[in-house]
Every structure is written in structure tokens, then in C-alpha cells.
């Protein structure tokens, strides 16, 4: 791993980002009397990855002022390691906030002081504040939302997360492998395959384990089934949020059909137990292959008319259009990923830019839309549903022969591995660094939600507060993935 003085580290990262590289991870790793800061960069045009690092003590000059995508990562580093990025414009806690946790800067907070978190506030006559959560009205994960409103209009929204923090990274670094893979599957319960794929990816790289083409295809099939389930479910939920019941009813059920396909394959509706280091733990039998193809054909037949009904309804279009707009330049400034970025007409998709496994051979065209609003994100999902269905039909028709799992042995000592996958929400990044004994010394997980939450808060500005559920669902970000 390249190592450079702290003075040049910031410039290396900022210059690379200015030249078109993307900062995909930035994290701290404890060293003797110091913290090693590691930056991972991606060049999407050439499919290349880069890394650099430096050693810091108590403080270092923040990268964020010259490299805005670093903002959320530097908050995370400060919270996890205690190292302060000097000059960071918004150094607030990311997950461990007062009064349940001592603040990073050491100032004491009274046990019951709910206002200890420094929320952004808009002052003025008739401006009012709406606080929601962590216990919400629906069946959703916990988070706290502070709206600054003028009448119905949202002037600003701040989102405070961390309620789902379970200490995943530390567990991944300490648990033995049989348990660690179960923890990886539980980072975000709707992205079991996406995270298991990236977790196994770094272990396989460190162990030089080479999956068979059959295992790669099977894992690709599972990943696309996961994408289908979530995109279909979200379109159904968005349909419900604009009171279009035919969409909510049919798409809600069809989501279940995708989960049931995963259950046929893995014994669990979310695909738990399938993706394992070295390949997959369950095979697709010839009978299952035929059955799954038939079920996917039926799903396609039932899905198309339901989607057409949703997207052709004028009442739905009127509610989706122009709501929750993300300007295209914010995609670069915030480092946004997944359907949120693609809804701003940015072709950013790990399956296309940094293909791995079966995606090196079976190319799925990148789906984009241009307006950056709820409608654009819905359109991207619709296109991705169609393309995932095509991929599944094709791959289930021509499964390569061979073993489903090969050994994944001891890790090579003193190495760094990066695995990127395109989960249904976007880019999932796992980084593992092995120590001299071949044990995992640092396991860094970056869920796409960490990148995209700030965009949701911004997209609400100037919108009506009553449009928040719809806007929120069009992003459908993971609290657990953000909070780890």
C-alpha cells in the first residue's frame, strides 16, 4: 500500500478526484501510536482502482474543503478513530450522537439532553420545525428527521442517523469466518446478496481463491433476483404513496415472487446461506433451472401490464414529476451512486465500470434517465427490472457446468483487497487488509446509502413536506447499511 506524508496525501486525493477519479472509500486503521488513513479511488473510464495512505496522530488538514465527496468519510473517520480533520465544514457525529454517546470532541453532555445534537435551524417568523423519529409511523427502520418549514414548504431537512449501529465492522474483524459471513449477510437485510458478494470478494482475493464460472453465474443470478425484488417492491410502495392502489397491490405481490425464487434457490426469502467464500453453497438442479425459467417468464407476463398501468397513469406522472430533484452536478460533488446517480443521467454502474464475475461476460446496459426527480428514479428502476429479467432468462438458459464451490483457504499476509459490487441501491465497497499472520486486520464496509443520504436531505428543499414519503421511497436508502 503506497504511503506518503500527510502534506501530499490530501493533494494526491484531491488532484485525483479533480482529474475524474472517484473516492470510493476513506477510512482509518489503528497503528502503533498513530492512525493510518487509507483512501481508495476508482477510475470508472478505465476500470482501474488506486490506493494511497498516510499516517496521522490527533489531527490532520481535512480533505473535504478541496474534495467534497470526502465529507461523510471524514466524519466517519473522526468518530471511529478520534482523529480530527481540521477545517471540516460540518464535523457532526455520524452514528454515535449525544446523549447516548459521548461526543467526539469530548465536551460533556447531560444524560437527558435531547437537544445536545447541533441541528441546523432556520430562524424567522412563521418558520416552524417538524421532528420525526426515530420511531416512525410505518414499519421502517429508525432515524430522526428535522424539517425546517415555512408553511408546507421545506426550507431545510437534516437527517440524523445511527440508531441501527450494531458495530458490524468490528464484528467482521473479530468473528471467525463461519460467523462473519452471517454478519455480512445482515449488514442490510434487503441487500443480503450484494454485501455477501463483496464480503466474499475480498476474502477470495486475499486467499487467491478462483470461483468457477458456474458459481459466478449463480451469484450473478442471485444478485439480479435481489435487485428485481427491491425495485419491484419500491415501485409498489411509491405507487401506494401516491394512492395508486392497483400498483401497490400487484407490485407488492410480485416482489414476493422474486423473494420466493431466492427461497427456492437458497432456502431463505432473502437469499441467506447462498453466497459463500469460494462460490455458492447450493446448486441449481436441472429441474430447478427449468422451474425458475418458467416462473421468471410468468413473472415477466404479469409484471409488464402492471408496470404499464403505473407509468401510463396521468395521476401518477403528475405526482412523480418534478418532485425531489437532484441536480446533476451534486452527483459529482457528493459522490452519489446507484439509481440516484443514474436518474441524473450519469452512467455509473459497477457492473459496467468495474465488471466482476459473470458481469465480465454478460453485459447489462446501464439504465439512465435525465431529470433527477422521483420520476427519473422510478424510470431507472423500471428499465433495470426489464434488463435484470432479460439477464436471468439468458443465464438460466445457459448455466456453465462445473463445481459450485472451491476451497477458500488462508489469507495472504500483509495485503489489501477491494471488492465492489452493484447492489440494487448502488455501489457496495468492502476493503480488507490482512496482517502479517494472515488475519483480517481491518474490514471496511461502505454501503451505497452512506453516499446517498445527504442527497435525499438536499432534494427535499423547496418541496412540500407532504411529498417526503414519496421522495424518501424513491431513494429507499438503508438505515442499517448507513449505520452498520
Amino acid at each position: 500500500m503506497p504511503h506518503e506524508p500527510v502534506e501530499s496525501f490530501g493533494a494526491t486525493v484531491s488532484d485525483a478526484v479533480a482529474a475524474g477519479w472517484r473516492l470510493i472509500s476513506l477510512f482509518g486503521m489503528p497503528e502503533a501510536r498513530a492512525v493510518r488513513l487509507v483512501a481508495i479511488l476508482a477510475d470508472d473510464v478505465h476500470g482501474a482502482l488506486g490506493a494511497t495512505s498516510t499516517s496521522v496522530r490527533e489531527r490532520y488538514p481535512a480533505l473535504t474543503p478541496t474534495c467534497s465527496p470526502a465529507s461523510v468519510f471524514e466524519r466517519e473517520v473522526a468518530e471511529q478513530t478520534g482523529v480530527i480533520p481540521d477545517g471540516h465544514p460540518a464535523l457532526k457525529p455520524l452514528r454515535r450522537h449525544a446523549p447516548d454517546h459521548a461526543p467526539t470532541n469530548g465536551t460533556p453532555v447531560a444524560a437527558g439532553d435531547r437537544e445536545a445534537y447541533p441541528f441546523f435551524r432556520v430562524e424567522g417568523e412563521d418558520v416552524h420545525e417538524v421532528g420525526v423519529g426515530p420511531v416512525h409511523a410505518g414499519i421502517i427502520e429508525p432515524g430522526h428527521f428535522r424539517f425546517q418549514c415555512y408553511g408546507e414548504e421545506v426550507l431545510a431537512l437534516e437527517i440524523m442517523l445511527g440508531y441501527q449501529h450494531r458495530g458490524v465492522e468490528r464484528l467482521l474483524e473479530t468473528a471467525d469466518r463461519d460467523r462473519a459471513v452471517l454478519i455480512a449477510e445482515s449488514i442490510a437485510g434487503d441487500s443480503v446478496i450484494g454485501h455477501a458478494e463483496a464480503y466474499c470478494g475480498v476474502l477470495e482475493a486475499l486467499a487467491r481463491s478462483r470461483k468457477t464460472p458456474r458459481a459466478q453465474t449463480m451469484r450473478g443470478i442471485a444478485l439480479e433476483l435481489e435487485r428485481l425484488a427491491n425495485h419491484i417492491g419500491d415501485l409498489g410502495a411509491m405507487s401506494g404513496d401516491v394512492a395508486f392502489q392497483p400498483g401497490a397491490a400487484t407490485l407488492g405481490r410480485l416482489r414476493g415472487e422474486c423473494l420466493n425464487l431466492l427461497m427456492t434457490l437458497s432456502g431463505n426469502r432473502y437469499g441467506r446461506g447462498l453466497v459463500r467464500p469460494g462460490g455458492a453453497s447450493f446448486d441449481i438442479t436441472p429441474e430447478m433451472q427449468t422451474e425458475m425459467r418458467e416462473r421468471i417468464a410468468r413473472l415477466k407476463d404479469e409484471l409488464e401490464p402492471a408496470l404499464a398501468l403505473l407509468f401510463d397513469a396521468a395521476s401518477v406522472q403528475a405526482r412523480f414529476e418534478g418532485v425531489g430533484v437532484v441536480p446533476q452536478d451534486r452527483v459529482f460533488e457528493l459522490g452519489l451512486v446507484g439509481p440516484v446517480a443514474r436518474g441524473c443521467e450519469i452512467t455509473r454502474d459497477v457492473r459496467h465500470d468495474h465488471p466482476w464475475g459473470v458481469f465480465r461476460f454478460a453485459h447489462i446496459p446501464v439504465a439512465t434517465a435525465w431529470a433527477g426527480d422521483v420520476l427519473a428514479r422510478a424510470l431507472v428502476r423500471r428499465l433495470e427490472i426489464q434488463r435484470s429479467l432479460e439477464f436471468l432468462t439468458e443465464q438460466l438458459g445457459a448455466l456453465p457446468r462445473g463445481e459450485i464451490r472451491v476451497p477458500c483457504g488462508a489469507l495472504r499476509p500483509g495485503e489489501l483487497a477491494v471488492a465492489m459490487t452493484e447492489g440494487w441501491r448502488g455501489e457496495i465497497v468492502h476493503v480488507a487488509i490482512s496482517d502479517e499472520q494472515g488475519r483480517v486486520r481491518r474490514h471496511k464496509v461502505t454501503d451505497p446509502s452512506l453516499r446517498n443520504w445527504p442527497a435525499l436531505a438536499e432534494a427535499m428543499r423547496g418541496n412540500q413536506i407532504s411529498d417526503f414519503p414519496l421522495c424518501n421511497k424513491s431513494f429507499n436508502l438503508s438505515y442499517a447499511g448507513h449505520d452498520l
Binding site: 420511531v135 421502517i140 449501529h165 450494531r166 437485510g189 434487503d190 443480503v192 407488492g252 432473502y270
Partner: protein, 255 residues
């Protein structure tokens, strides 16, 4: 309008016949774990701490299977070298007590109906508030699925409501993170008595895959009196529905 009707006709009626039927699962489905002592040759150490969970433990009373601790993972069955630990296709495993999930062979003391007074109050109409507290969102996804046209929990009079003030009980998911513990306890206090607490999923029961992390309480804190424990990672919607209907006295004994 005609297109609406055409799609409606094509979709048909999809509600599961449950509880009269509909509980058919694929061959690989991992339901309630079972332990066959006859297959245990005592030579492996799977139950002596080499399991990825505490589903199987060797204690003073011999080998015990704790369905509540199971992560329903293939690794659990594999760690039991003799093949004595298997997953059945039985989806029924909700119990009124924590101890009801622990046995020598995996048999669960299935949930019994509420006492007469509570049953009279809630038996035909139960309003619940969901509290996710340090979960992965898998359990919540299955709770949401209970509201879709297939499982349609509302046909039994069970509904999720927006506020604890409107609720007859809480459904708790997640290992209960440090950040959520206070909110969970306050939500319980905000729920009018008499009230129920239902713990859903391995995390709420004992911490699940996050057990032992300093960031979680290893499940529902002892301050809350749990009335119904529903194992799973996450539990299948029919596992949740079965347990709730048993609690409400809506399923016959032994069915």
C-alpha cells in the same frame, strides 16, 4: 379503465388460504431446527462453542437446542458433524416464553392463547406498533409483507398503526442498539396498558448475528415483559402470522 380491469383479471385473487392451507415451502426451506440425539456420536465440538450461534449448547442438562438463538444458517447444521442438527420445513415456532424455545430435540412449546380477559380485548382486533431497534431491516421487510395481498394480516383483525398511543402492543425487531434502547423504552411507556410485547427475529430474542457486540443489548431488554417470542432470521411471514393467531386463540391446538 378497461386496462385496469384487464390487469385486475389477469392478476386474479392471490390471498393465501392460510391458516386453512398455503403453508407449503420449497425443499430447501430452513424452518424450525431439530436435533436427533441418536445421530450425535459425541465426537465433534460443534455444540461446545464452535457454532456460529448458540443454537446448540452442551450444558449440565446435556445438549440443548435453542430455536430462539438459531440464525437458520447452513453453517449451524454443518458444525454438527454427525448430522444430528437439521432444519425441518416446519414454519411454526412462536412461543409464549423464552424457555419454550429451548429443548433437547428442537420441539417448541407453541404459543398458547392469551388469558380470557386479554383475549376478549384483543382476540378479534389487535393494533400493533413496530419498533426497529438495531436490526438489518430483514424482519421489518417481512412485517411489511404481512400487509400485502398474499398474507393480508388485516383479514384477521391485526394491523400495524402509526403511533404507540393507538397501539395494543409493540413488535420489537433488532438487537436493541445503544442508540435505540431509550426510544424503545419510551415507546413502550407511551403505549396504553394493557399492552403486549412481541419479539420478532433472532436479534430481538438474543442479539442474533450481532450478539456480544458492545453496541447492542443482545435483544429486548429485561425491562420489557415479552408475551410472544418469534424466532427466525428473518422469520417467514407465515411464522409470524401463525404465532400471532395462536396468541389470539384463533388457531386450534395442534394445527
Amino acid at each position: 379503465m378497461l386496462e385496469f380491469l384487464r390487469v385486475r383479471l389477469q392478476q386474479g385473487t392471490r390471498t393465501s388460504p392460510f391458516p386453512a392451507g398455503g403453508a407449503d415451502f420449497p425443499a430447501r426451506f430452513r424452518g424450525r431446527p431439530a436435533f436427533d440425539p441418536a445421530k450425535c456420536d459425541g465426537t465433534c465440538s460443534g455444540c461446545a462453542g464452535e457454532m456460529p450461534s448458540e443454537v446448540l449448547t452442551r450444558g449440565p442438562r446435556g445438549i440443548e437446542l435453542d430455536v430462539g438463538a438459531s440464525l437458520f444458517a447452513p453453517e449451524e447444521a454443518a458444525a454438527c458433524a454427525g448430522g444430528a442438527l437439521t432444519f425441518t420445513r416446519d414454519h411454526r415456532m412462536g412461543s409464549r416464553t423464552r424457555a419454550g424455545l429451548v429443548s433437547a430435540d428442537g420441539e417448541v412449546e407453541l404459543a398458547t392463547a392469551l388469558e380470557a380477559r386479554m383475549r376478549r380485548l384483543f382476540g378479534r382486533s389487535l393494533r400493533l406498533r413496530s419498533v426497529a431497534a438495531g436490526s438489518c431491516s430483514g424482519c421489518e421487510a417481512e412485517l411489511v409483507a404481512l400487509g400485502n395481498v398474499v398474507f393480508d394480516m388485516a383479514r384477521f383483525g391485526v394491523q400495524f398503526v402509526a403511533s404507540p398511543r393507538h397501539a395494543d402492543g409493540l413488535v420489537v425487531t433488532g438487537a436493541v442498539s445503544v442508540n435505540m434502547k431509550r426510544a424503545l423504552l419510551e415507546t413502550w411507556e407511551a403505549t396504553p396498558a394493557p399492552r403486549l410485547v412481541i419479539a420478532v427475529g433472532a436479534c430481538a430474542i438474543n442479539g442474533g448475528p450481532f450478539r456480544g457486540s458492545p453496541e447492542v443489548s443482545d435483544g429486548v431488554p429485561t425491562e420489557l415483559p415479552v408475551d410472544l417470542w418469534i424466532p427466525g432470521c428473518p422469520p417467514h411471514p407465515l411464522t409470524v402470522l401463525d404465532a400471532m393467531l395462536r396468541l389470539l386463540g384463533r388457531l386450534e391446538e395442534g394445527s
